[in-house]
């Protein structure tokens, strides 16, 4: 019998489990593949405050702080680098949009200032002369997402968490007040349950008999071979990927924005949420060459020296979201002692903090900042006991 079972070993699940264990609970994480091999391990690793929506800024600042101090609480620095970041506007319309967006985000707490082209080119000598305006945030940086699975695994085991990998949860039953979770030939029981299945949260919710309106997107990322240093900041371009109320949101659009940076090993990572092809069964299995080209053109328009590089790899990862593109983090209405965490845009940056405040709630403490009520979508009436309503 466990105090808590966490299903899904991405950033959200791993961090929640870690804090629960450190809070004194007996915990297990059950993960279908290896820890952090889906979105949490294949993402672009950008820790940029300039691309966070204003409502999430306080959380993003906390998440950023956690990555900066990862060696303290995670036991591994996971390649955190603070480079400073520039967001670019190439046209007058974009400049107006940039001013509006960044003013909001600065008001929300991110130390963002506006810089004109010449100043931008001092900050980033690799920059083309195309930008008409830029914003600068000295905090922007990145961490090596591919390394975090290893770090979390060591931390979880160090904290006494039992880690089940290559274990797909196939059913969740309620036995009295407890949850019985079956994976492979194994069934484990616990008093509390946390669903942290990323893009697969809808499926996990269904196992519990609740409807979580989770959809998914398939993001493309590319990396070049190692090349000489050609840029020293994180580069982005202005766009409004996070809005859903006015204008088309990135959530429904196939084309993305830009995130661009050169790692300490010389490779240049190019991403921004351009959509590849995939599904929940096969993951992100195919890239769209036309979007690779669009993304690369955008990058090259900002940093011309990229033309000398060769693209070494392109891949896709699957990311979950809900209709309002805000996170899920809190108790699942109607199922006592069941919680959910995930579906957070910029979830690599914010994930460690979401896991932490959810763990505070599960441990019976007051969360440091408000959670994100999974019941806000007023879904179809929830079943009152687990398993009811299913054949």
């Amino acid at each position: 019998m466990y105090d808590a079972l966490v299903i899904g070993g991405g950033i959200m699940g791993c961090t929640t489990a870690l804090h629960l264990a450190r809070g004194g609970m007996r915990v297990a994480v059950i993960e279908r593949r290896g820890l952090c091999m889906e979105a949490s391990g294949v993402n672009a690793g950008t820790l940029s405050l300039q691309i966070k929506r204003k409502e999430l800024m306080p959380y993003a600042l906390k998440g950023w702080e956690l990555w900066k101090t990862a060696s303290d609480w995670l036991g591994d620095g996971v390649g955190f680098h603070q480079l400073g970041g520039l967001t670019l506007a190439f046209t007058d319309d974009e400049a107006e949009l940039l001013e509006n967006k960044m003013r909001e985000r600065a008001e929300a707490g991110a130390p963002i200032e506006f810089v004109h082209r010449d100043r931008a080119r001092e900050i980033e000598p690799g920059l083309s002369n195309h930008p008409v305006l830029a914003s600068f945030c000295p905090l922007d940086g990145y961490a090596q997402s591919n390394e975090i699975g290893r770090a979390y695994r060591a931390a979880l085991i160090g904290a006494g968490v039992q880690v089940f990998e290559r274990s797909t949860v196939s059913s969740i039953e309620k036995i009295g007040a407890n949850f019985a979770v079956t994976f492979g030939g194994n069934t484990k029981q616990a008093r509390r349950l946390t669903l942290a299945g990323g893009a697969w949260l809808g499926r996990l919710g269904a196992l519990l008999g609740v409807e979580l309106p989770v959809e998914y997107r398939v993001n493309q990322v590319s990396v070049t071979e190692r090349i000489r240093p050609i840029l020293r900041t994180i580069i982005g371009v202005v766009s409004d990927p996070l809005s859903t109320k006015e204008g088309p949101a990135l959530g429904t659009s196939l084309v993305g924005t830009l995130t661009l940076k050169q790692s300490s090993n010389g490779t240049v990572l190019i991403g921004g949420g351009w959509q590849g092809i995939g599904d929940l069964d096969r993951g992100g299995y195919q890239i769209r060459p036309e979007y690779l080209i669009g993304n690369l053109r955008q990058a090259h328009y900002a940093i011309p020296a990229l033309a000398d590089a060769r693209v070494a790899r392109t891949w896709c990862g699957v990311e979950g979201h809900v209709p309002d593109f805000m996170p899920l983090a809190g108790p699942i209405p109607g199922v006592e002692n069941a919680f959910v965490v995930g579906c957070c845009r910029g979830g690599f940056t914010i994930g460690p903090y979401l896991g932490r405040i959810l763990a505070q709630r599960i441990l019976g403490q007051e969360p440091e900042m408000p959670l994100f009520d999974p019941g806000r979508f007023a879904p179809a009436p929830l079943v009152d006991s687990v398993g009811a309503g299913r054949p």
Partner: protein
């Protein structure tokens, strides 16, 4: 604007398998495009010499040359569209293929695809193998065949399988010096292979002739030995060899022998090139004796995906002769499935082909077995030996990932960067997987790496082309 092309059948790879497939399908009326990154058809064995290259006395070292020349003549006379110097970097079901080459970026759409992508070389690493002067046995055959150049002044030739003797003799014939020939197999291993090889007396005799020739030239010939270290400052100056036991484990208790040389040609067999079939979603299985992961194909070369066929060494190492026959079978099957052939005509045309293929495979299987390294050879990969040369990852780092709990190949890649470089793990993948298999119980358990696009690194300039800012698709900005 990038060029767009349409065709009935795309054949990826113009080695013996791909060229034969293209010819067969075209004979039955299919519009066929044959793509290869090389300058002409022929593949690895029947590689065409550079167009500007004329041998003074008209005599060539390479006994296979005329087979390649006749294949190229038949292609020239056929309706196959031959498109060379094109690297395939993207493939998708449906079928969509993209290449880059002298015409820049091109996109191809086809109803059916034959994959005939051949193989890569396998080198089981040892300390110093990344020094300049060390080349693969296959690369050495290419130097000898297509440029008639020597790897060095004095070359040590080592590894396992028929290519060892072939390369040594190639060097001798070209007037070069061979410092030693070091074969991990024993004369007994070869003797056991002989009965199967006797189905091709011509090739068998050629092989025996090779051994005689090496002996005649006074070259030290060491059976059941392995190169355990390559030494040198800026490049190779010396190699160390040790006897190996029956598992090919180096015997550290026996003193090593040193051989001076300025080049080492070394190889431990071939690995099927399956990124194309994997990216196209075909099912694969692991077959050690055929070189590694291979697509599952039926007796007519159909993969698990409709209208996707595979032939030649990318379906399992078997050699050039079977590749020619299997390629033809794949081309005929594509024609049959596209209603270009009556089933009776197909049955008739393929029955003799299948018999020949069976025989050719018996020989191929025997030589493939000789090319398969025994697991003990992994002991030459000492803790400080670099396994992944692109990312400079040593065996010690890979073992540390296992200690930390990595339990499949993708996890090892994520944690160590092994296989993340521009070669996409073609050089280190097999070694990393073999090391993982030692720990985790079998190659099936550790799985293959996820295949990634691009299949070959693509210059950024090629991908972005000429563009205006307006050509970049953008999400419509929100009105806020």
């Amino acid at each position: 604007m990038t060029a767009q092309h349409w065709t009935d059948l795309l054949v990826l790879g113009a080695g013996p398998a791909g060229a034969s497939a293209a010819l067969a399908a075209a004979e039955h009326g299919m519009d066929v495009v044959l793509l290869d990154e090389a300058a002409d058809a022929g593949g690895q064995v029947f590689r065409a010499p550079p167009k500007s290259f004329v041998v003074a006395n008209g005599k060539r070292i390479d006994p296979d040359f005329h087979i390649g020349a006749s294949l190229r003549d038949r292609l020239a006379a056929s309706r196959v569209r031959k498109v060379f110097e094109r690297r395939v970097w993207f493939v998708a079901p449906g079928f969509k293929v993209s290449t880059f080459g002298p015409e820049g970026l091109e996109f191809w759409t086809a109803k059916s695809v034959v994959v005939a992508s051949g193989t890569y070389e396998r080198v089981v690493p040892m300390p110093g193998w990344t020094l300049p002067g060390v080349i693969g046995l296959g690369a050495a055959t290419i130097l000898l065949k297509s440029q008639q150049a020597l790897p060095g002044e004095t070359t040590v030739v080592a590894g396992c399988g028929p290519l060892v003797a072939a390369v040594a003799v190639g060097i001798l014939k070209a007037g070069g010096k061979v410092g030693a020939v070091i074969d991990a197999a024993s004369p007994g291993d070869w003797a056991r292979a002989l009965p199967s090889m006797a189905v091709r007396p011509d090739l068998l005799l050629r092989g025996l002739g090779w051994v005689g020739r090496i002996r005649l030239a006074g070259v030290p010939l060491l059976f059941r030995h392995a190169v355990v270290e390559v030494r040198g400052g800026d490049s190779v100056t010396e190699i160390m060899a040790r006897p190996v036991d029956n598992q090919w484990r180096p015997r550290w208790d026996v003193p090593a022998r040193a051989f001076q040389c300025d080049a080492l040609a070394i190889g431990h067999g071939l690995v099927p090139a399956v990124e194309l079939t994997r990216l196209l979603g075909a099912e694969h299985e692991f077959a050690a004796e055929r070189g590694g992961w291979v697509p599952k194909v039926d007796e007519d070369c159909r993969t698990s995906e409709p209208c996707l066929y595979a032939a030649g060494d990318c379906t399992g190492i078997s050699g050039a002769a079977p590749a020619l026959l299997q390629g033809r079978l794949a081309g005929l099957t594509a024609a049959l499935d596209d209603d270009r052939m009556a089933p009776e005509a197909f049955a008739q045309e393929t029955s003799a082909l299948r018999r020949k293929l069976q025989r050719a495979r018996t020989f191929g299987a025997a030589s493939a077995r000789l090319m398969t390294p025994s697991p003990g050879l992994l002991d030459t990969v000492t803790p400080d030996t670099v396994v992944c040369r692109c990312e400079d990852v040593t065996r010690r780092e890979i073992e540390a990932a296992f200690e930390a709990g990595a339990a499949d190949l993708n996890q090892v890649k994520a944690w160590t960067r092994c296989g993340m470089g521009p070669c996409q793990g073609r050089m280190c993948g097999d070694t990393a997987a073999a090391l993982a298999a030692l720990r985790l119980g079998g190659r099936e358990a550790v799985g293959p790496w996820t295949a990634r696009t691009p299949i070959r690194p693509v210059p950024m300039e090629t991908l972005i082309g000429e563009y205006d800012y307006e050509d970049i698709p953008k999400p419509a900005p929100a009105r806020r």
